[in-house]
């Protein structure tokens, strides 16, 4: 094992020797960056970066590829964002109007907006959203909507979420109340 590793390191050094320089000028430094010497320090630094990246992008900032038009035009139908997990930690709760990320499966998330809080009643009349009988002002809804839905009470511990793009038939849009535990964060942008 030791001899295999030594062999790989020697081969790497031979390949790099024609490009690498001990010159401390800018060119030498850049070449050393792309063709590093395989020393113990290098592997320690690499290990630290791998661990920190796994923690950052696996726990704190989940990369999310956006696919779907349910939040147009607020969020483009194709794009990349990160789920900021810390948004709703330490007692912070989603508020009306917040854009949230909802865990559907371990690999699929929904991006929706909170329109009603636990215990409130949600209703659609001719495309207009009513919460507890009060018509809501929704400047983020840009497309014409003609939905009608009888009043629904949001269960305790649940939040009512809908996308901003309500131009499609209601049956084709995934929306509804979701348990608080499924709201895992908010998009970073």
């Amino acid at each position: 094992m030791r001899s295999i590793f030594s062999g790989i390191r020697n081969a790497w050094d031979v390949i790099c020797s024609c490009h690498r320089s001990d010159d401390a000028t800018a060119d030498g430094t850049i070449l050393n960056f792309f063709l590093p010497r395989l020393t113990r320090g290098f592997f320690i630094r690499l290990g630290v970066i791998v661990v920190l990246s796994a923690l950052l992008f696996g726990v704190v900032l989940l990369p999310c590829f956006i696919s779907g038009a349910s939040m147009e035009p607020t969020v483009k139908s194709v794009g990349l964002t990160f789920c900021w997990r810390g948004k709703y930690l330490f007692g912070r709760e989603p508020q009306r109007g917040d854009i949230v990320i909802i865990e559907f499966t371990d690999r699929v998330f929904f991006l929706k907006r909170v329109v009603a809080l636990p215990g409130e009643t949600v209703e659609f009349r001719n495309g207009e959203l009513y919460v507890d009988g009060v018509r809501q002002n929704e400047p983020y809804v840009k497309f014409v909507c003609d939905w009608n839905m009888p009043p629904r009470k949001v269960d305790p511990g649940n939040y009512y979420v809908i996308g901003d793009n309500r131009s499609m038939p209601m049956e084709e849009h995934k929306f509804g109340q979701v348990t608080r535990s499924r709201i895992i964060g908010a998009p970073l942008w």
């Binding site: 909802i102 559907f104 499966t105 371990d106 929904f110 929706k112 839905m149 629904r152 979420v161 995934k174 929306f175 509804g176 109340q177 979701v178 348990t179 535990s181 499924r182």
Partner: protein
């Protein structure tokens, strides 16, 4: 360095063996706690519903019999968005499951985010996400995710399912 490793390899091996024994002992103890028993019942439920491609009739019969053992004499099913709710006996559940499995060439059921709580020492509530992916015999695929809440009761030393509530992740 090489000499030190050769000298201390026995100690290293002993530590590894002790560690393995500790982990094994902890897992055995955990499986015998009420939470471990409830978890085992739910895993058995998921296994009985799943069907591998080319599964034989004998395996299907065994699963039908096994699933009947998981339920209390009367079990209530509540579907928040469908109309199939009601109270069923274990034999009725077993028969319905057999019919359900016959529709599929292959079906896999997964269970995630399992949370088990004990309102009383003989009652348990299990909250989890069920993910069903399958291929029907005529080729269509099914991919469904639901939230399930199971209530179990300890009857004669075994945890039996007394009710199951199924709801959509986003429920209108």
């Amino acid at each position: 360095m090489v000499i030190k490793i050769r000298k201390h390899w026995k100690i290293g091996l002993l530590i590894l063996l002790l560690l393995a024994a500790a982990v094994t002992g902890w897992r055995i103890w955990k499986s015998r706690t009420p939470e471990g028993q409830v978890r085992r019942q739910l895993l058995q439920l998921v296994e009985c519903v799943s069907k591998r491609e080319g599964e034989g009739t004998a395996a299907g019969l065994w699963k039908g019999r096994a699933i009947a053992e998981l339920f209390a004499p009367e079990c209530t099913f509540e579907f928040r968005t469908e109309m199939f709710g009601g109270t069923y006996t274990p034999s009725e559940i077993s028969a319905d499951l057999a019919r359900f499995r016959m529709m599929f060439a292959q079906v896999e059921v997964g269970m995630r985010k399992l949370v088990i709580s004990f309102p009383t020492p003989t009652e348990a509530t299990a909250d989890f996400t069920g993910h069903l992916i399958g291929t029907l015999k005529h080729g269509a695929t099914v991919d469904a995710v639901r939230e399930l809440v199971c209530h179990l009761q300890e009857i004669d030393g075994e945890w039996k399912i007394t009710s199951i509530m199924v709801r959509e992740i986003l429920e209108r």
